[in-house]
């Protein structure tokens, strides 16, 4: 039994390690931030250093949605559909002030933050964020996933301990 559990844990770890270091981002670039995203993936900043260069434009093949740019009310159903089409597990980085909160466009056609329609994992501020800012955001996401795994593991352990404890008491 010991051998089995050892294999399971490592497999989880292996999976997370792989995921963390090789997001396949889908850049939902609509505006100025999209141009900065292009800078991030091009040679000077080179996001490939972190293993995140496999940019996919099909939601079916990607696990990280980077919303780079203003989302208008006209675009909202499209964004929602793209998010729904992505397979689990999936994460969302909201890049720039517009995607986070509508930015300085308090206006009749601009969504006041994409979290009106989809959940967001990391908000990257800036108008647009610097390339370093976006990379920092993605590395934060990496940490967050790591932390989540530890938390889930801890929760599982607590539940198991509780159950063991209660069964022992019984």
């Amino acid at each position: 039994m010991v051998g089995e559990s050892w294999v399971t844990t490592t497999f989880e770890k292996l999976g997370e390690w792989g995921r963390n270091n090789s997001f396949w981002p889908l850049p939902f670039g609509t505006a100025c931030c999209g141009i900065e995203f292009m800078s991030v993936v091009s040679s000077h900043y080179d996001m490939a250093r972190f293993g995140y260069e496999v940019v996919r434009f099909s939601p079916r093949q990607s696990d990280l949605l980077i919303v780079a740019g203003t989302i208008t009310d006209k675009m909202a159903p499209v964004l929602k559909k793209i998010y729904d089409q992505m397979p689990d597990p999936k994460w969302v980085v909201s890049m720039g002030a517009c995607a986070c909160s509508g930015g300085f466009y308090r206006a009749y056609h601009v969504m006041q933050g994409i979290d009106e329609i989809i959940p967001v994992d990391v908000y990257v501020p800036g108008c647009p964020p610097t390339p370093e800012g976006l990379m920092h955001g993605i590395l934060q996401l990496k940490e967050k996933i790591e932390r989540d795994r530890k938390r889930v593991k801890k929760e599982k352990a607590t539940i198991a301990a509780d159950r063991d404890g209660s069964s022992a008491a019984a």
Binding site: F28, C32, E36, S42, S43, K74, Y108, H109
Partner: protein, 565 residues
């Protein structure tokens, strides 16, 4: 305010009496046209060779709730041959908001009229497809009317999304072995640059009809301008054409300066010209880089983006921001130039040409690129003008038209450079012309650098326009009051109107500003160069294959922020 003194008075005589009345004392010749005779006047001006107003630059609606005839529609016309401008104004009452459509005279009117319909609810009789263009399908009301709340949103749900049926021009599919197919491309599609949508009807791989849907990035620039002070609009202008944000800054600030009657000091003008040209280079780099990526040539994308990064370094040294710089101010610059400005520019002058040489070696005679681009999406100069094209795309069709030469601003009339013209009008020439223009821009920059930095301040010394320096504002009562007034009330621009233009990276970038003296723009209309160009897209791709459509979109350099504002 500089007046253009070439009022085409003889033209008025060709018209029936009282169909058009000239208005005196404005920045350019202006006629008040009666609604009933608008079509006749337009035909005389546009179709008659002697009048020669072959380019419809812009159509702009204005709402005056206090007037008996509430709306005004303003047409800006241009004569390419004579470099003359003419403005037509038509009053439209609220009860009967109908005008004749001018599509028969200028094809460019197509989308412009749709925009006026969308924003003001004015209808154009004879327009083939008068529906909303910038706002979405579930939108109610007309946002640029003065009584529309700027923050009133409408939610679009998926069932209401417009599904265009490309008008069936082709009924002859009888003996064809293939059934015609309708496909949707975009808006979330890499070839559509994230924000356009095309519904195309295909026969095999050939596009027989298509409809272009835009408005996915309509960020309400013009309404936002009306709710902010004149200075506060500057950051919004950055986000029009975000690939060359600085040129937008310059265009806007020069417009307001003309209304105010102030002039930026020589140092600011000198730096603006240099930075505008660097911005133009960046813009051309993005356009050509993206076009080549769309055609599968990824290497050039890296080659184009490296010089861009270096130019970013210069802009960052000046303003602190890379992309959206907001470095220009009304009356000058936001801050003094960095101490190594000149050396930095010279470094860039050394560094950019080798990249361009490499790209040209890789691409110019590349068989694949030639096959993909030569003769694709070609348009003749005459047609392009009728569709309202300006800038490099028009120059690639053989029409030498450049605001920098024809209506010089800043220092362009003091340097030696050429307006590059190519004859082909296809994707290849649109790529080539940008490569050539990059070199012309470098030439301009080099000459300006050789003159050395002009002495003096970087912003006008006028406390009604420019903030007093911080140390003075902290220590002198008067300066502090000026500072307070400028921050709280903004610059007090006198009532008036002006159309002012600069050569944007993609054509004539015009700002039509109306001030009522209240401290905020009453109306600020942008004349976006890529709006009329994009309106041609459906026509350009007809008869080509889908892959041709992808390449031709890249070559037109459509920037959504500017297209949809």
């Amino acid at each position: 305010m500089p007046l253009i003194e070439t009022a085409p008075a003889p033209l008025l005589e060709k018209l029936p009496a009282d169909s058009a009345v000239p208005v005196e004392g404005l920045d350019q010749p202006t006629w008040l046209v009666r609604r009933e005779s608008l079509k006749e006047v337009a035909k005389m001006l546009g179709a008659d060779a002697s009048a020669g107003f072959d380019l419809l630059l812009d159509v702009c609606g204005v709402d005056y709730p206090g007037r008996a005839e509430r709306f005004e529609v303003v047409y800006h016309l241009y004569s390419i041959g004579r470099h003359e401008r003419l403005r037509l104004k038509v009053a439209v009452p609220e009860e009967d908001p109908v005008l004749p459509s001018l599509i028969d005279v200028w094809k460019a009117a197509n989308w412009f009229e749709r925009e006026v319909y969308d924003m003001f609810g004015l209808r154009f009789e004879g327009h083939p497809n008068l529906r909303r263009i910038l706002t979405h399908e579930a939108f109610e009301g007309h946002p640029l009317r003065k009584d529309y709340d700027p923050a009133r949103r409408w939610i679009l749900t998926e069932d209401k999304i417009y599904r265009p049926e490309p008008r069936p021009d082709d009924e002859e599919s009888g003996d064809d072995m293939f059934e015609p197919m309708t496909i949707n491309i975009g808006p979330s599609h890499p070839a559509m640059h994230g924000t356009f949508r095309i519904v195309a009807r295909l026969d095999g791989e050939v596009i027989t009809a298509s409809e272009v849907e835009i408005g996915y990035l309509h960020r309400c620039f013009e309404k936002m301008a009306e709710t902010h002070t004149w200075q506060q609009v500057i950051p919004f202008t950055d986000r029009l054409n975000y690939c060359s944000a600085f040129i937008n800054n310059v265009g806007y600030c020069r417009t307001v300066e003309k209304l105010l009657g102030v002039e930026a000091p020589p140092k600011a003008v000198w730096a603006s010209t240099i930075l505008s040209e660097f911005s133009r280079i960046m813009d051309h780099c993005v356009c050509n880089g993206a076009t080549l990526v769309d055609a599968g040539a990824l290497t050039n994308f890296w080659y184009f983006f490296q010089p861009r990064e270096e130019i970013y370094g210069l802009l960052e040294a000046c303003s602190g921001a890379r992309l959206t710089v907001s470095y220009c101010r009304i009356g000058g610059l936001a801050a003094d130039l960095p101490p190594d400005f000149e050396a930095h520019c010279r470094r860039l002058l050394e560094m950019i040409p080798p990249f361009m040489d490499d790209i040209e070696k890789l691409v110019d005679k590349n068989r694949i690129w030639l096959d993909r681009s030569v003769g694709v999406a070609a348009i003749s100069g005459e047609q392009a003008v009728n569709w309202g094209w300006t800038g490099p795309c028009l120059r690639a069709s053989g029409v030498a038209n450049d605001v920098r030469r024809d209506h010089p601003y800043d220092l362009y009339d003091t340097v030696d450079w050429n307006v590059v013209v190519l004859p082909g009008g296809d994707v290849y020439d649109r790529y080539r012309i940008r490569m050539l223009e990059i070199r012309e821009s470098l030439k301009i920059i080099r000459q300006l650098l050789d003159r050395g930095i002009p002495e003096g301040p970087y912003i006008v010394d006028d406390p009604h326009v420019a903030l007093p320096p911080k140390d003075v504002a902290y220590n002198q009562m008067e300066a502090m009051i000026y500072h307070f007034k400028l921050i709280m009330d903004g610059i007090q621009v006198p009532a008036g109107e002006i159309y002012s233009m600069v050569e944007g990276a993609n054509g004539e970038l015009g700002f039509y500003a109306i001030s009522d003296g209240s401290g905020k723009p009453y109306r600020l209309k942008v004349r976006p160069p890529c709006f009329p160009i994009m309106s041609t897209f459906s026509h350009l791709i007809q008869g080509g294959s889908v892959s041709d459509a992808v390449v031709s979109l890249g070559g037109l350099n459509i920037i959504a922020g500017e297209l949809e504002r």
